[in-house]
């Protein structure tokens, strides 16, 4: 049971890393996610069903997501419309495309077919299947996290980070911000789609509605993570996003298990997630205000002391 929560959280954490790149690193409110998660699920599912390898299926899912993200970035770059609207456009268009990929069906099951999550227990037969699944997923997440960490330490990755902090600086350093956005939003949605590809295999089906409300859930996970510790190092920022994702899924698990005691059903989860995000924003804001007040108080004390010394 506990393994299940972790696996769920770890798969979710890859998507959270994608949302971290768009919302936090690039400061680009990208809603493509709601569509690209399902795209990844659909592409991976259809490839596996048609007899392709699981590894290639995940690579294809990543690439499909990257293309979706690049479409959003291109709409934003070429027509100078806000990223939010560009993302909504792509997300809406992706709904139709995802149905096409799934052969005009809203739901395609992956039953009695070899997937990542049926192979793992077979390969690692000496340990309980739920642990084997957990280890496999953990390895995938560690691999992805390490790649993201290394990427954001390269010169190109730093430039993407600088773009989120200050677009003018990137221009002043002779880089085309349009290319960097294309790359950043592309990679972000690639990760989201990869997460979708794994999710479809884990839950055993791909669904055109898979991505609904995912952005808000991802943001909730990022914000939970940000309460854990403070850092400007990318490896710790991604670590806390992964931890935030697992904590979020744990909360949701207990909500599902014990929620009936206070009359909460899974139908209420979207509302609760939204409230969680708002609460996080509120706590973060009052924290900054508190630290500002403390700084102000100290400054007043210092100046008063200075005056006394002068007297």
């Amino acid at each position: 049971m506990i393994e299940g929560i972790f696996v769920d959280g770890l798969i979710f954490s890859i998507m959270v890393l994608g949302i971290l790149i768009s919302f936090r690193v690039l400061d680009f409110a990208d809603l493509t996610c709601d569509g690209s998660l399902a795209t990844g699920a659909a592409v991976a599912t259809m490839h596996i069903i048609s007899g392709g390898s699981i590894f290639i299926a995940l690579v294809l899912a990543f690439l499909a997501g990257t293309v979706a993200g690049m479409v959003t970035a291109t709409i934003h770059n070429k027509f100078k419309i806000p990223g939010l609207l560009a993302g909504i456009l792509t997300m809406t268009m992706l709904y139709s495309i995802n149905l096409r990929i799934l052969g005009n069906k809203a739901n395609v099951p992956l039953l009695r077919i070899e997937t990542f999550y049926t192979i793992l227990p077979e390969k690692l037969s000496s340990i309980p299947s739920s642990v084997a699944v957990l280890i496999g997923t953990l390895l995938v997440v560690l691999f992805v996290k390490t790649l993201v960490d290394v990427f954001f330490r390269t010169d190109l990755g730093l430039a993407v980070g600088a773009l989120g902090g200050n677009e003018q600086m990137v221009i002043s350093q002779g880089m085309n911000p349009d290319y960097l956005k294309l790359l950043g939003i592309g990679v972000s949605n690639g990760l989201i789609a990869l997460s979708g590809g794994l999710l479809a295999q884990y839950q055993g089906f791909a669904d055109a509605n898979l991505g609904q409300g995912m952005v808000v859930q991802g943001l909730a996970a990022i914000m939970i993570g940000e309460f854990l510790f403070h850092s400007n190092r990318i490896s710790l920022i991604t670590l806390r996003a992964v931890l935030g994702a697992i904590i979020y899924k744990t909360l949701m698990f207990f909500g599902r298990k014990y929620g009936y005691l206070i009359n909460i059903t899974p139908n209420d989860f979207k509302l609760l997630t939204g409230i969680l995000v708002i609460a996080s924003l509120w706590i973060a804001k009052s924290r900054t205000q508190a630290s500002n007040r403390a700084a102000k108080k100290n400054a007043i004390l210092r100046t008063q002391k200075g005056e006394e010394a002068n007297d």
Partner: protein, 262 residues
């Protein structure tokens, strides 16, 4: 080095808000010149810089850099040889990144590759470069934690590091307190002399504009109304400068009056 030919910029053409910000400015700035640009608010100084660096497209005229036409070249491409520092200290650095990450991004111009350039050797170099501005032990701190003066000094250092051929300084000390403004201005002078830079600097300090630099340009209503260099510039005083400005304004004023009387 940079040649401006009949530059004209009209904002909101064809509307009631139409404004001629730059009206037929031609300038030829040679390598090694240090040009101080003065003029009242709204005279077009900043717009001129925006046109040179490519932030705004031109309405008319052309710009060439070392005899290559760059009129239609995108801002980020021009940035490879034109460095710029803004009045706002937050414009030149990324607040969400550490000092060392900012510096490594600025150390080379142009698109970056998948190489990890930041290593201990670079850190040592950066730390030495940061000594004059007192930040040598704060490489890993976020730039957002620095004061305005420190940030502007860092921006200056980063701009010089990327060795642009021409540097545009848009009142880069105006938003700082007097002490920090002095520090940044001293550094500016030091770097310009040390690195033999060609520079254009907007300033409101007439005394400074007379003392510093090799050429002085006064702008008014989108036109260059005074352009002095060499001995002629050395002989200038603040009073003379004010007088010249008044005379030019009065001529315009009387001309307007005549028109009204007719």
């Amino acid at each position: 080095m940079i040649k401006l030919d009949n530059l004209t910029k009209v904002f909101y053409p064809g509307t009631v808000n139409e404004k001629i910000a730059i009206n037929g400015v031609s300038l030829n700035i040679k390598e090694g010149e240090i040009v101080c640009v003065i003029g009242s608010n709204g005279s077009g100084k900043s717009t001129l810089f925006n046109l040179i660096s490519g932030t705004y497209p031109l309405t008319n005229g052309s710009i060439s850099f070392n005899d290559i036409d760059i009129t239609k070249t995108a801002e980020y491409k021009r940035a490879k040889y034109i460095g710029r520092i803004f009045q706002d200290p937050t414009m030149g650095t990324a607040a969400n990144m550490s000092i060392e990450d900012n510096m490594i991004t600025a150390s080379t111009k142009g698109m970056k590759g998948l190489k990890i350039s930041l290593n201990n050797e670079k850190r040592k170099q950066f730390s030495e470069l940061l000594i004059p501005i007192g930040l040598e032990n704060r490489l890993k701190d976020n730039v957002g934690l620095l004061s305005g003066g420190q940030r502007q000094a860092l921006t200056l250092l980063m701009t010089v590091m990327s060795s642009p051929k021409l540097i545009l300084l848009d009142e880069h000390t105006a938003a700082l307190d007097p002490r920090n403004a002095d520090i940044v201005m001293d550094l500016t002078q030091q770097y310009i002399v040390e690195k033999n830079l060609t520079a254009m600097m907007i300033t409101h300090n007439m005394k400074f504009a007379i003392e510093f630099g090799t050429r002085l340009i006064m702008m008014d209503e989108g036109k260059v109304i005074l352009d002095v260099q060499g001995d002629e510039k050395k002989k200038l005083t603040v009073d003379k400068l004010v007088e010249i400005f008044r005379n030019i304004k009065n001529e315009e004023f009387s001309a307007d009056e005549e028109l009204l009387n007719v």
